[in-house]
């Protein structure tokens, strides 16, 4: 028997519940902590150059995160967010994409951004909101974006990118492009209405989106068990009628494999796929947060052993693709480069006053022109109070 809802109806004649945990979705694991593969696991096809690029991207992000959190503590930038413990999730998934696939991220996906080719200078210019920042110094640090590398500018409100990704991918499909959109979000953001709206819209309208949920255990201080009661986020994909897969987010081979498979499926069938990556946010939510108030050191230590970089590093060493000594030298060099780039970026001027009103509209409306003219007159009267712009108007 079928009904108009496309649902298969099987009937019973005694009342019985279906358990809220009837559906248990397994987690894909390929790489063990010691760098060897699980029995029965197959490594994805990955050439040496790609594997090294993935490794170097993870290392880059880890060093950058350490250094920039330090810069925040020194008061040189106002805010920062690390992705410690989650590097494999974003780098592994980005590596499985085509360079022209759109990335719509939440805010902790610097790994995907770097993999796409965002330069060290571009990172720094954004973090210091200087006049070379692509975003013209308008958003808090870590709100990166670049049209050239198909990385949608980050928006602070949580989950808003989810229905947008459905629309973006639908447009890609209408245009006949062989590209997908990947949409990252956290398990906390999956409680937002936009999550339901976006997944349902994508499923109904057959949009080739990869919904990539980074379930990292915490939304600021709220643990996942206070966020939802179901089996993670993955089980919801089945509810929307979409293909779903769950992976160990600290296992870059598993993430790469799952994303590659999801991308192929999404393109071939014009359908969304939900991926749930299980990892742990080892760092604080942001530079404004202190996890010692809501979780134990013991818990953190348990997950620290699950480090995504060391696991992949051991794998690469065993394959003789990585030279241990050269890697150490390269990491040291990276630290130097980051420090240098930081010093350069913090000296670059802030955006000019015209960027207070540019881009609100394609062309400033008359009222904005009037307001800017009034403001300039005011600044000329009190130049000392407005040192960033008074010398340049």
């Amino acid at each position: 028997m079928t009904n108009p809802n496309n649902a298969t109806i099987s009937t019973v004649h005694q009342a019985e519940f279906t358990s809220g945990h009837a559906l248990q979705i397994p987690t894909l694991r390929i790489l063990q902590d010691d760098g060897t593969l699980y029995a029965g696991a197959t490594a994805p096809e990955l050439d040496k150059a790609t594997a090294l690029k993935m490794y170097q991207t993870m290392t880059f992000i880890r060093v950058l995160d350490e250094r920039m959190l330090g810069a925040q503590r020194q008061g040189r930038i106002s805010f920062y967010m690390k992705c410690l413990g989650e590097e494999a999730a974003t780098v592994g998934s980005a590596a499985a994409l085509d360079d022209a696939d759109m990335i719509m991220a939440q805010y902790r996906e610097q790994g995907a951004l770097r993999y796409r080719g965002f330069t060290l200078e571009q990172f720094m210019n954004q973090l210091f909101s200087n006049e070379k920042d692509l975003g013209k110094g308008r958003q808090m640090p870590v709100h990166y974006g670049s049209n050239a590398i198909h990385y949608m500018t980050i928006s602070s409100p949580l989950g808003t990118q989810i229905p947008q990704a459905a629309g973006y991918a639908y447009a890609q499909k209408l245009r006949g492009l062989s590209n997908v959109t990947i949409c990252y979000f956290g398990e906390g953001a999956a409680s937002e209405g936009d999550f339901h709206a976006g997944l349902n819209m994508a499923a109904v309208h057959k949009a080739p989106v990869l919904f990539f949920c980074r379930n990292n255990g915490y939304a600021i201080s709220t643990p996942a068990n206070e966020q939802f009661k179901g089996d993670g986020i993955a089980c919801r994909g089945v509810g929307y009628g979409m293909k779903t897969i769950r992976v160990d987010g600290a296992d870059i081979l598993a993430v790469y494999q799952a994303t590659k498979m999801a991308r192929e499926y999404a393109l071939a069938h014009n359908e969304p796929v939900l991926l749930e990556s299980i990892a742990y946010r080892l760092g604080a939510h942001s530079s404004s947060d202190d996890p010692s108030g809501y979780r134990s050191k013991e818990e953190e230590e348990l997950w620290r052993k699950n480090d995504p970089i060391s696991r992949f590093r051991l794998y690469l060493l065993q394959k003789c693709w990585l030279d241990d000594e050269a890697d150490k030298v390269a990491t040291e060099q990276l630290r130097q480069d980051i420090l240098e780039a930081l010093k350069v970026a913090e000296k670059v001027a802030k955006p000019g006053i015209e960027h207070l009103i540019s881009d609100v509209y394609a062309e400033p409306i008359p009222e904005l022109e009037r307001q800017l003219a009034d403001l300039k007159d005011h600044i000329r009267k009190y130049p000392d109070a407005y040192p960033i712009t008074s010398g340049r108007i």
Binding site: D133, K136, P163, Q164, Y170, H196, Y361, I365, P366
Partner: protein
């Protein structure tokens, strides 16, 4: 020139826009085969296919988010919110996303070409969930453009301009006039300017300003005033954001008086913004206080709708009070 009602004019505009540019896509609740609950998208699915004119699930935030994504990719989504009263689940997507897309990315991305069409206003015995005029909430959001047409000819030209606009537009359609307002509408493609008011009638003693469905109400009031010898200048604002300060200020400098009428409640309504700006621009020319004729500060009523609305009689009284101050 053929005669059309406002729905036919809107349908005709959408048809022309879809024929002209295959990036134009119409969607919303019941918009597909059914053609929308008011039939504004009638026959468009038949003509342009399901991929370009389709139903969505019942999710205003989903519709708005989907539209943002499509527009960011470069297409021109025309998304229908079935009633302006139901736009609020999409408020975050519109206020925090649509409006800030270009600005926050430093012009790396934008959602120009995106139009939200939504029927607003009372007069259809709809009570407080089918009658609201929420334009003022959006007027407080830099990055949006807000347009309200008064008749079929205006609706077609302004809608085509909105779809062709490099900035996102909320297009409020006076649903009371959907079938009631009939007029001559050119068959061909044409645009009317966004951000420009229209002086519909010149006069010397008082400026009367309104927009959308209220235009025919204030026209009636102006006729009554003219009949007792008061010379009125009548202006249709047409765009709430950006609004045409210069045209209104020029008129008030001439007449020395201003009466503003809108359907939405008085407090926090857009008339307050206009009054503040005009008193600043025209202070020495003003002969009497600027008056506002608006809805009461209550939810929109049902049984007592006639008493509530900013009708022609209240406007007529305000015109007299302004001139006889």
């Amino acid at each position: 020139m053929p005669k059309m009602n406002m729905l036919q004019a809107i349908n005709n505009a959408l048809d022309l826009a879809m024929a002209k540019d295959d990036g134009v896509v119409c969607f919303g609740e019941d918009v597909g085969h059914f053609g929308g609950v008011f039939r504004a998208t009638s026959k468009l699915q038949e003509k342009y296919g399901k991929a370009r004119c389709f139903n969505t699930p019942l999710t205003e935030q989903g519709i708005a988010g989907f539209a943002n994504g499509m527009a960011a990719q470069g297409m021109k989504p025309v998304a229908e919110i079935q009633f302006a009263d139901y736009i609020f689940p999409a408020f975050d997507q519109i206020v925090n996303e649509t409006a800030k897309f270009r600005y926050r990315s430093g012009n790396e991305f934008n959602v120009g070409g995106l139009v939200f069409r939504t029927p607003y206003g009372g007069g259809i015995a709809g009570g407080h969930y089918h009658s609201q005029s929420p334009e003022a909430y959006f007027a407080h959001t830099p990055g949006l453009k807000i347009v309200v047409p008064r008749n079929p000819h205006q609706a077609k030209g302004l809608l085509l301009a909105s779809i062709n606009c490099p900035d996102p537009v909320i297009f409020f359609e006076p649903k009371k006039l959907y079938r009631a307002s009939v007029g001559e509408v050119p068959e061909e493609y044409y645009e009317l300017p966004i951000g420009q008011a229209e002086v519909m009638k010149t006069g010397t003693q008082v400026t009367v300003l309104a927009w959308g469905a209220q235009m025919e109400i204030v026209e009636k009031a102006v006729e009554m005033a003219e009949a007792i010898g008061i010379s009125c200048e009548l202006i249709d604002l047409r765009s709430i954001l950006p609004w045409d300060v210069d045209t209104v200020a020029e008129s008030v400098k001439k007449t020395g008086r201003l009466v503003i009428n809108h359907e939405a409640p008085l407090t926090g309504g857009f008339a307050g913004e206009i009054a503040a700006t005009i008193q600043q621009r025209c202070f020495l020319h003003l002969e009497s206080p600027i008056l506002r004729v608006c809805g009461l500060d209550t939810p929109y009523p049902l049984a007592l709708e006639k008493e509530y609305v900013a009708d022609h009689l209240k406007t007529f009284e305000a015109i007299k009070a302004s001139v006889n101050f």
